[in-house]
């Protein structure tokens, strides 16, 4: 099964669900589903800023496993980080996300 994650809420998702569950499982190649993409809203985008230690691990595993990472463009502009993300991580909105995933669409989209 192929899944895409949308990080839409801000409480404990990046530091806990992503960093302590999803990311270690991806690194150990035992997540149980093929992750094709992750999209980040609001403050969750800070994980994509170059230098973020969780983001660095995520960027590495995404490159190795062909996972699309994308930040919400308006969220990134609002935080003035749009040009400070890890190399190759685009910003965009729904049309960009759907276009980017169209070649390898997920079976399930999971909103966290």
């Amino acid at each position: 099964m192929k899944v895409a994650y949308i990080f839409a809420t801000q409480r404990h998702n990046v530091s806990y669900v992503l960093a302590k569950m999803i990311l270690p499982q991806l690194e150990e190649k035992r997540h149980g589903a093929a992750v094709v993409g992750m999209f980040f809203f609001e403050d969750n985008n800070y994980v994509l800023v170059q230098g973020n230690p969780i983001g660095a691990r995520l960027h590495k595993v995404a490159q190795e496993q062909g996972i699309l990472l994308m930040g919400c463009d308006q969220c990134c502009y609002e935080r003035e980080i749009a040009d400070k993300l890890f190399p190759g991580i685009p910003i965009g909105c729904f049309p960009d996300l759907y276009k980017a995933l169209s070649g390898n669409p997920p079976d399930q989209v999971i909103t966290l």
Partner: protein, 158 residues
């Protein structure tokens, strides 16, 4: 012993970026203002709409008098970057002659507005193309500066 605290009365509004009322040229703030402007009614001179392969479009309208741009409005796709670039044009060109406005380039927009990642710079090209299409819609006589007053001053007896 700590020195006595000196209180100075606030005599002017803070003009720092933190709380200044002056508009800033950041993508986010241009987007906020542009989002409202693109809902405004078009001005008398409407240019042709321009589009890119990704489904983005932009269309400018102008008010021009005596060879100078008086006001600029636009309609465009909801892309935040495109709205910001269109708003940057709308805020900076009023008051310019049409000749000077024609020289506006996408490179100038890109350099004026830092913070946009490179893969979104093509939105500046679309914005400038649409703005130039609006300039092309200006009737020739309306696009010329009015020099009549100066002629009268030089030749009052004529």
């Amino acid at each position: 012993m700590a020195p006595a605290l000196e209180l100075t009365p606030m005599t002017a509004t803070c003009r720092s970026e933190c709380c200044s009322a002056a508009p800033r040229f950041t993508v986010n703030e241009l987007f906020e203002r542009g989002f409202r402007r693109r809902r405004a009614a078009p001005l008398p001179l409407e240019g042709a709409a321009c589009a890119d392969s990704g489904g983005n479009f932009a269309q400018f309208s102008l008010a021009v008098a005596e060879g100078r741009i008086g006001a600029v409005n636009f309609r465009c796709a909801s892309c935040a970057t495109l709205i910001a670039y269109c708003e940057l044009i709308a805020e900076t060109v009023p008051g310019l002659t049409t000749e000077i406005a024609r020289a506006l380039s996408a490179e100038e927009l890109i350099s004026t507005l830092p913070g946009v990642p490179a893969h979104k710079h093509d939105r500046a090209v679309l914005a400038v193309a649409a703005f130039r299409a609006a300039l092309a819609s200006i009737p020739i006589e309306q696009g010329k500066p009015d020099h009549e007053g100066r002629l009268h001053l030089r030749h009052p007896a004529a």
